[in-house]
Symmetry: D2
Subunit: 377 residues, 4 copies
């Protein structure tokens, strides 16, 4: 049987992104083992069949348990609602499968810890869908920091804002429930920001946070009653990094006009780096170098000089898109599963990101500085 | 035999883009007949085999004549150097194939006319690789103009700049020869701009142009001698549209810092639209509406409200990339070839774009206003 | 004696700005009593003479005590180093003068409180140099919020960054001493941000802050030793406003590349407002109004529709500059002193801004949330 | 009598700008002889008195002939409607006054030539109000080009767009008449662009232009009839510079959303410079230098490293405004009149700029390339 068998669960936003990514990875990247689109799970069964046909999967099912136990499936790709991540991942791990799970891993820190522990115990390979860190512009930023282009990093500011819950008239949904959705803006958005902060600055040691639920209740779709929104619309933290730097993290799902505003700036002793996902092919760099009258922020347009951009396109400035980031993620995992170098973040690494968002929630509840590592599951 | 058989000639910048696009089109777009990646042509044969393996083509060849005559090939996709377009296209048309040809169709207007005539006579379906007009942001702009969002279009300004020939120290190559490359900046870049101008403003009737070859000679790679650069580095035209509007078009391959600066603005009697391919997910709109103190240019981030963006991603502002535009182009052609609605631009429509760049060259040589339709082939 | 007599102390950055502003105010604004540039104080006396000649002051002195007691002086304008503000202001108030003092009023909260109390007791008129809030773009933002253009304000983010202390190799100066400079980035920059936050959002009730001194020591100019930097390079706070909104404030004097990055965003239930002093003639507005496919951030260029811009220039988009803001400040104070409406912020209002920066310093020292009003002087 | 006596004619947009500029020049710049605001001319006489009082002029008149012959007036500053420029300037020159005239000098090239000849014959000093070239950002750009920062300049693109005539419903006014206004967008706006092109690139030798009157008729204010608009709304030219470079110039007064879009880019063999007056404190520079992965356009914020910015403010990025440019212009002229170095552009230099706009109009009328120097007056 040629290639690595992919079993994909879910066909929504992330399901489609995974399907496209596994379909494209080798054609784009070259040095990646072939992926075999083996089995697609969706409900009901006829939708599963239709989507398998569209995405090019060989077979379909409406039973995720069948999928995780299918002998032709090597990688189980989980893109279901968050509340199912843990159960499916544990079953897949138990079946000896490698697991590609969307973020956040779990709704609670306890879930994420259990998943990471199970994967470690079973020795299967894992990856979590922190696709934004695959961006060549981001990888370039990390290299620049490592190479000292901005000196010693001293301060970090990050924001991740969208407006999908900004409208007060949106109805109450499962998104508003802790039991079904887990965290709000922190789980949807905040953890992506943390993944970038870690790549640029390293681990966060402690933080103080505040949270707010802007729209405290929302009407049921039928208008019969208003129900409480249980999780946060906005969260902000002051953080201290292990490297001695300070900084702040902010996440909002009620930020009108922001569509994918995952943005940050790293202040260094010799310069600054600035990024904004809404212009994901640009990196802004200031360096205290050369004649002062010529200093300014440079807008670096990503191109072949920023690997692996060139695998998508040999011409600079031609723009990668969101789905291309997922191709890089799937490709990296295929390489590892196929025997190549390790890809990141695996469950244990992603757990570190998710500790931070749960620490933020805990700090906000308790009104005090908390240690990221001390968080109870 | 399931699906529409694709025979792709070339594996460079555009070859890879076509391969990825045909591979992804149905998975992304849904309502597209399946494409069968049947045959890939490259030289030498072992490179053809390797690339076929990477891209997922069933077979490979080093003989384009074999490809255009292969019974399992329905669409011949031509991504070779420009000087081969005509010969291959004519052979494919003679073999009754549908043809997907990269732009510009021909090195001369005579070539392009011959190709368009042959396709029309044979009744095969054709499309030319003017992918930028597939951008949802661009399609939205066209809709806005049709709907009167900026009133009557009165003026157009367009630029298309890159810097791949900006360095005086680059060696002389085939790109510098009229016989091998045809036009310079106009053929590489200018025709893309024309395709956008036509979509927004309709046909151009006449123009006056000027051209310059900035680097008049370049050294051979071995440094033995300097040879003449025969085609233009920069060209600019003042144009008059059939709708009564005026405007200007400019193209440069020696514009340091510009990587994909395909940009334009449309002035209307009620507002303005502005676009820049280097930020291809943004459209800028000014409307003389509402309170004056609140007027300003709006930055519209493309999203699901701008079809067919939503087929790539249900979340706004998440960014499409260059290769996604090619997916839309391949998908549109697959629909037509599969019996659906006509896709554009076919050879006869693309011929209109290419008349403009040749009219620019003629006007610049002759120093006078020329009619676009009067251009001799 | 015609006009309101101005006695200006200091001829540095702010001294010159005050001189230009009082010189221009009536010519620009029209409805302002004439200012008489009466007396300029600087040391040594010959520099005072030379600068009085340049700025157009009638007389000069090297003795600020003479100035504050001069019978022809009505307004004492204090632009000395911060450590002298209190003593001079108290002397001027004692002499019955109206006082225009640069920010921050005092090095400590106790100083600021003493100044505000003295002014209140004496009944003299005062103003503090929070010039950024005079910007027509800012005033427009405040009006938009009051008019409900973005609904209920729910979140505020503000930053004020410069890089004048970013270079690790800058020598140790008085700026580094608590006793001479008071606070660092908070006093120089942070209080400007607070003045804007108050205008947009109203009072801050409590906050949690963190601070860092990035460059802990600096070398004396002669290189003989390294001395401790006693005040903060960077400070950040999570704040809660009296109106129920949350937000964050950040200030840095070590932010390479930032020259006057006094920037903020106000999130509302119906839209967002964004501003950046480095592009001080622009206001960015998103409103959830009209067709979704047309929504986007609008860049509003300030013009005559945003009073009092038109007093400087009848043409929109022609740009005001930093010194123009000072003209508005001086003009507003001249109007009040001349019997017109009250100008802001007077000492008691500015005291509220300065309470916030001292609360930030206190919270950072103590590691806990503090109430802004509970700050001991 | 101390200082150089200023006689100002006009109190509109430019009149006020001149008044403020002469009032501020020495205070800002220091090394400038004092200006004495001697006499202000406006009609009717009571308005002249009121504005003289506001601006700080010693006396007022409603008779410009009295002003140009007043013995206490040294500089006659002309800010009347264009149709009066010539008559007043010739009278002032005849009276031996130095003349500061707003642009364009004359409504026709013949007028401008007559004015330049008269000034030359009389030996008086002159300056024309091309204030945008005084911008420190622009002066820095000129220095960078002279110093080779972008290599040899090869191409220039410039635009100057506003929207004050964009609304089709604006009434017919004197602006629409050749006899009263002279040229349209070219006279109001285009000549400013030419002044920048000359500073950056040197003289223009020949050009081909096209023009359009977008709104061919406008209704009289009382709605009684529609009258013809005699001058151009939009004009564009392809130009050839004496240095061998090519380029284009465009001007529009019907460009919705553009408020002061005086923008240009200079392409060089080693880099590019880009400027936009709507962000007049920024200069954008790309240089083909250093590591390719770090190349990008730099946004240089003007500051003290870009003289004479520091005379306004010692802190970078704090922003100059439109009126500050006029201060620099007035200051330069005061220096020359006071015996210092020559200021620019005098009438003979400004005549060169104005030849270009008249050459554009002639080329558009005649449909052929014209030589700038061959223009009949």
């Amino acid at each position: 049987m040629d290639g690595i068998g992919i079993g994909l669960i879910g066909t929504g936003f992330m399901g489609k992104a995974h399907a496209l990514a596994y379909r494209a990875a080798r054609a784009v990247l070259g040095d990646v083992p072939p992926a075999r689109l083996e089995l697609l799970c969706e409900v009901p069964a006829d939708k599963a069949r239709a989507m398998a046909d569209q995405f090019g999967f060989a077979r379909s099912t409406d039973d995720w348990r069948a999928l995780v136990n299918d002998p032709k499936v090597d990688i189980v790709s989980i893109t279901t609602p968050n509340r199912l991540h843990k159960e499916i991942a544990l079953a897949a791990i138990a079946a000896g499968k490698h697991v590609h799970c969307e973020k956040p891993m779990g709704m609670t820190l306890a879930e994420a810890k259990e998943m990471a522990a199970a994967a470690a115990a079973a020795g299967v390979k894992t990856i979590v869908g922190y696709n934004y860190i695959k961006n060549p512009a981001f990888q370039h930023a990390c290299r620049l920091i490592r190479d000292g282009a901005i000196g010693r990093p001293i301060h970090f500011r990050g924001w991740v804002d969208e407006d999908y819950q900004a409208d007060p008239n949106l109805p109450w949904t499962w998104r508003a429930r802790l039991e079904e959705a887990g965290l709000g803006a922190l789980g949807d958005l905040g953890c992506h920001l943390v993944s970038m902060a870690y790549g640029l600055m390293g681990p966060i040691e402690s933080l103080i946070a505040d949270m707010q639920t802007v729209h405290e209740t929302r009407a049921l779709p039928d208008g019969s009653e208003r129900k409480k929104v249980e999780n946060e619309d906005v969260a902000t933290a002051l953080v201290r990094f292990a490297n001695g730097a300070q900084g702040s993290l902010a996440a909002s799902r009620t930020a009108w006009g922001r569509k994918s505003k995952l943005a940050w700036e790293v202040h260094g002793t010799k310069g600054m780096l600035v990024f904004d996902q809404e212009r994901m092919n640009e990196l802004h760099l200031y360096q205290n170098e050369g004649e002062r009258a010529l200093q300014g922020f440079k807008t670096i347009l990503t191109g072949p000089d920023h690997p692996p951009y060139g695998l998508f396109c040999p011409a600079p400035g031609h723009q990668l898109g969101f789905n291309d980031l997922k191709v890089l993620e799937a490709g990296a995992f295929l390489r590892w599963v196929g025997g190549g170098g390790k890809s990141s973040p695996d469950f244990s690494e992603a757990l570190e990101f998710e500790k931070v968002i749960h620490a933020m929630a805990a700090s906000a509840r308790e009104g005090r500085r908390v240690s990221v590592q001390d968080q109870a599951g």
